[in-house]
């Protein structure tokens, strides 16, 4: 294994493809502005920024900064990426790659795009002012998306696209001020845990799959619903989420056989929980001052146990209470 120093004048794609680079080698990037597409076609290459000034700038003409093409065990750490025409980092096939502490901004499409790939770690990256933040697509499974921030994107913060994008975990991420959805999660057995969604169009949406787990998230200040469960979702579990100050429903449920357990749902502008379908269990939730009702049931066979419902106090209403709550949270991030 060797450490190879890289400058902005090195053709990194060509170097990796050559015999001079072997599995386990570290490519140590000197600070400076790089103008290139890097395509990684060899396993276990570690690309590490030497300092905070490593910048890949596509100058609005190059397509993608880093593409991991059917590789395993590649690390990309500490790089700034901006002004590419497509995505910042693409993982195409392969597995077990680590994308860590990169800062990605001003791209036309996706900050970090994973397709047909499994077991990757996407950790502590920041994506802003792109189309979408971090997206898993085309049968991407068992990926771990942890402690990332996506903000000010024109589309979705974090997402999976197809039913086959399954068994992924989104943990401790922040989606702030994205124009569409904070967490748009399709597929089966995905986990959304301990995330923050503030001031997005919609906080969390689940679709086309079953067994999704939505636990311990904070969802506030969305233009539409806090959490929208689309038609046909079965056996989703929502527990201990804090859903407040969203302009429409706290939770809008079009699924069936779901469980809503110990959520705090307050000050939402058009009901706390609306259940459109059947056979959901709603238990031990606290609902405070959602207007016009804390719970509306339009389906049937739903079971309600031990929920605490409080109406608005005199002079209390979502518009009054929520005021600047999203701004307060934004300023701390």
């Amino acid at each position: 294994m060797a450490v190879i120093n890289i400058t902005p004048f090195t053709d990194i794609t060509e170097l990796i493809a050559s015999d001079r680079v072997n599995a386990g080698d570290v490519l140590l990037l000197e600070e400076g502005i790089y103008f290139q597409n890097v395509i990684i076609t060899k396993d276990n290459i570690r690309i590490i920024a030497k300092g905070p000034g490593v910048i890949f700038d596509g100058q609005s003409s190059l397509i993608t900064a880093f593409t991991l093409s059917n590789v395993t065990g590649v690390v990309i750490e500490g790089v700034n990426i901006r002004h590419y025409r497509f995505d910042g980092i693409v993982i195409d096939g392969g597995s077990g790659n680590r994308i860590i502490k990169n800062r990605i901004n001003n791209l036309l499409t996706i900050g970090i795009s994973v397709f047909h790939s499994s077991g990757n770690l996407i950790w502590k990256n920041e994506v802003c002012r792109c189309n979408d933040g971090i997206v898993l697509n085309l049968t991407s499974t068992s990926n771990r998306i942890i402690d990332n921030i996506v903000k000010d994107c024109s589309g979705t913060g974090f997402g999976t696209v197809l039913a086959s994008d399954s068994n992924n975990a989104f943990v401790s991420n922040k989606a702030i001020r994205n124009r569409l959805i904070g967490f748009d999660i399709f597929g089966n057995n995905n986990l959304v845990y301990d995330n923050l969604a503030i001031d997005n169009n919609e906080g969390i949406r689940t679709g086309d799959g079953s067994n999704t787990l939505i636990i311990g998230n904070v969802v506030k200040g969305c233009t539409l619903n806090g959490y929208f469960i689309t038609d046909g979702i079965r056996n989703q579990f929502s527990g201990e989420n804090h859903i407040a100050c969203n302009r429409i429903a706290g939770i809008l449920d079009q699924g069936e056989l779901g469980v809503f357990y110990k959520n705090e749902i307050s000050f939402n502008g058009d009901t706390g929980i609306t259940l459109f379908f059947f056979n959901n269990l709603v238990m031990d939730n606290i609902l405070v001052c959602n207007v016009p009702e804390n719970i509306i049931e339009r389906g049937s066979g739903n079971i309600f146990i031990n929920n605490i419902q409080k109406p608005c106090e005199p002079c209390e209403a979502p518009g009054v209470i929520c005021g600047d709550c999203d701004k307060e949270d934004n300023s701390s991030n």
């Binding site: 397509i63 039913a163 038609d231």
Partner: protein
């Protein structure tokens, strides 16, 4: 929005981007062009896979 709408939107977006970037790539110097072409092929593969998913869903 259901999954079909989502895929259709993605297909439209990718189709537009590929077309636009093919044009831009043709104007690039030779030393940059090969990687750009590799990446465009990759996105075309992605587009093709999405189109197949849509066909499966609409069948």
């Amino acid at each position: 929005m259901d999954v079909k709408d989502k895929i259709k939107k993605e297909i439209d977006r990718l189709t537009g981007l590929i077309k636009e970037n093919e044009r831009i790539t043709l104007q690039m110097p030779e030393y940059l062009r090969s990687n750009q072409i590799f990446l465009l092929e990759l996105y075309k593969k992605q587009l093709n896979m999405l189109e197949n998913e849509l066909i499966k869903l609409e069948a």
